[in-house]
Assembly symmetry: C2
Homo-oligomer: 122 residues x 2
């Protein structure tokens, strides 16, 4: 009778690290998912990500990329040229993460109208 969602609750983590809270605290911020999605088609440079995302600040892009790299979602490759060239790409882990995300995205597309309607009613 235990729901998968039970796993999300804090009393379920022996070592003070509930997997879902851990993962979602890093992914669920304003930008991480957006960066991952933008990186989905292939390798991109810093300024390319900046342009494509549009409304992210350099600082947040930098910070987000560094954390995603730390966590093994993206790989960073520096080319020692002038001007410098830095490339970012998804790792296998990053790509595998986007799989379940697509389900959520489909849900969002299908149900946004309902949410907007509820918002208007309220």
């Amino acid at each position: 009778m235990k729901s998968v969602l039970d796993q999300i609750r804090p009393d379920n983590d022996q070592a003070n690290t509930c997997p879902i809270r851990d993962v979602l605290d890093r992914i669920g911020d304003q930008w991480s998912l957006l960066v991952l999605a933008t990186l989905d088609p292939g390798v991109k440079r810093f300024s390319q990500l900046e342009r494509e995302i549009g409304d992210i600040s350099k600082q947040m892009l930098s910070k987000t990329l560094r954390r995603l790299e730390q966590d093994g979602f993206v790989a960073r490759e520096v080319h020692a040229e002038v001007p410098p060239r830095v490339e970012y790409r998804l790792t296998a882990l990053g790509r595998s993460f986007l799989e379940p995300m697509r389900g959520l995205i489909r849900w969002a597309e299908a149900n946004q109208a309902a949410i907007v309607a509820a918002r208007r009613r309220a």
Copy 2:
């Protein structure tokens, strides 16, 4: 050749409201998902949610619940008694949202070890 994930990018929204960004900005915060998950088994009262989640402040619980109610994920029912009794329950929309979430949660469970390992390596 268009990825579903393309939908996430800002240049895809005519009316400045990309469905996925819209939905995830509200759901992807620290607490919303946690509240929804806690509400999954059934009706709960305010202080019950507070106790079960544990590390949420009253303010954030209140704010999160109000936004989830606004967006049509949860329903709020006040019983005019003393002391007051307020019950929260998932709506059909809220329940349907948890479906795709389960995929993400399974991914988190399966891959957290890899993330922790990457973090240690970095």
